[in-house]
Symmetry: C2
Subunit: 335 residues, 2 copies
């Protein structure tokens, strides 16, 4: 690691800048609204307004998969920056506040015209699953010009959100960041985001993973979708040939981390209560990367990741209500 990186950024994330509007919902409401449980659907502004009018009383909390990971990483004590686009409206100010208040460097200027800040309607059913309808709003303005090469050069890891592939300009922003990072000794991480997202971009993702990605995060549905197999073990065999490090999550069955010949099977940590699974994958990635950038071994990275995931599903939403630093200290001290 270069000296200037010690003074730099541990992880730079690129992702959609979204405020979540989170509500409790009975299963019947999902059916009535034509939503498919457990998935994320992209919707236009009109559909977003229609769904909101049918949604129960809600609360708002900053979201976005990658931004959630960055907020958690900062709360764990890492040095973090985020690139994404909001508008200069109230929800945009809320989003920026919440990242900066965690200590995340976030200086992309908000759009001054065009669509409003993105929002994701999150319906949480009694089984703690979340079903999401996202209106991307100002996120569609994200472009390569928002990626500051100097910021990338200062970063040890660039972390990309698969969802960004849904917009050509945002994808180009990711590719720009990835290339600058690798040309300057950084590593590039990708989260596959969602099995439907993998379905939309399977071939591109496979090429990208083989050529540009050092660390891959995926859950079981995503990794099996990526390789078009029903078998997790078969997906493991394929992914380890193509990427240096893969961290693959399996909900309550824990996770598997691969690096070359090394395989770490990590147990899930049962939450003190199961409230809302929103953010489990995002916080897992944060815990893993906090350990990884600090030089912990893969088993410890996985343990911290599991602690973070366990913490977030015991509460509503994907931003931790309390600082996560004690989890880092516990794992760093070998407990």
């Amino acid at each position: 690691m270069d000296d200037h990186k010690l003074d730099g950024i541990d992880v730079l994330g690129l992702g959609n800048a979204i405020v979540d509007i989170v509500s409790y919902a009975e299963d019947g409401l999902l059916d009535a609204l034509g939503l498919c449980k457990g998935t994320m659907t992209l919707v236009d502004h009109a559909r977003s307004e229609t769904l909101y009018a049918r949604m129960g009383p809600a609360h708002e909390v900053s979201g976005g998969s990658c931004a959630n990971t960055m907020a958690a990483l900062a709360s764990l004590g890492a040095r973090v920056a985020f690139v994404g686009r909001v508008r200069d409206d109230e929800l945009g100010r809320v989003f920026a506040h919440d990242l900066r208040a965690c200590g995340v460097h976030f200086e992309v200027p908000p759009s001054t015209d065009g669509p409003p800040t993105a929002r994701c309607l999150v319906f949480v059913t009694p089984d703690a699953q979340r079903t999401m309808a996202t209106y991307l709003g100002a996120c569609v303005e994200l472009s390569p010009a928002d990626v500051d090469p100097e910021l990338v050069k200062r970063s040890r890891i660039v972390y990309l959100e698969g969802y960004l592939w849904d917009r050509p300009e945002a994808k180009q922003a990711c590719l720009k960041a990835a290339r600058i990072a690798r040309a300057n000794g950084g590593e590039v991480a990708l989260t596959l985001s969602d099995p439907f997202c993998v379905d939309r971009w399977r071939d591109e993702f496979r090429r990208l993973i083989a050529e540009e990605i050092d660390i891959l995060f995926a859950n079981e549905a995503e990794i099996t979708s990526l390789y078009g197999t029903g078998s997790f073990d078969e997906a493991l065999r394929q992914v380890r040939r193509e990427v240096r490090v893969a961290a693959l999550t399996r909900s309550a069955r824990g996770s598997v981390i691969l690096r070359g010949d090394e395989v770490q099977v990590i147990e899930a940590i049962p939450p003190r209560q199961l409230v809302d699974t929103t953010g489990a994958g995002d916080l897992y990635a944060a815990g893993f990367l906090r350990g990884y950038t600090a030089g912990l071994d893969l088993a410890a990275c996985g343990r911290l990741a599991s602690h973070c995931a366990s913490e977030i599903i015991a509460q509503w939403g994907a931003r931790a209500e309390k600082p996560l630093r004690p989890l880092w200290e516990r794992v760093a001290n070998g407990q």
Copy 2:
């Protein structure tokens, strides 16, 4: 009760229409910001922005003491309306959505100019206490013209928030609603809101309570402040001479309900976890009024009130994450 009231509204609330911005905070931050723990301070827009910039990552949830009570009453199955003022901005739409989504009738048109929708910065310390800084924004536009006499006549109980006394026009709106209610066979309830609010309006509140109020809600600090005594028992003796029904809360020591010679001592119900005391008083009032308007005896009203308070302090914020109807059903079925 008149026949038309059976088709009418159980409780009509008048209060400040506020969105809460809730964050975890260490005690040291309160000191650094010059905030007095456990209290509500009114702040101007500039101070609100300064405090927000220093606040940790937050989430937004509709609030306002009276509006919290109305939302909970509707969730418990009562027929409810609310009068208060927001602006036609994003937070105003969030506030209106959250009330209507509970089933609360809320049709006061938003202001189209003037200050933005009110916000309350809520700092929750590790001991679960909340410290609040409120910027009243559009609330200051509330006036007697917002009180529809027909709506009041259809209501069995008009519920007033003491905080409204801080604005002369809002106070006049309360007095107008109270007089119409009593002239039409309705009852008037008041919550004292806050010991500092009582300090500001002690004489007016005492006159009001003696002359216009049927049901008084107060906590120990408020009721002893009202009568300028350090003794809860002395305050009890005074209040029972002046108001028909008083429901006086004492945090973990439960509550005392008085009506003429009747005294009900109600135990607090320990929460499954103590997270944030925001909304304990608001939800207590909701539980009490749900029982009261349904004709339950005072002991059952108090039990339901305690259940509601216990539920809300086990979560963040003052709006219940899940429907409260099961609490009502439990108490109504005599459990």
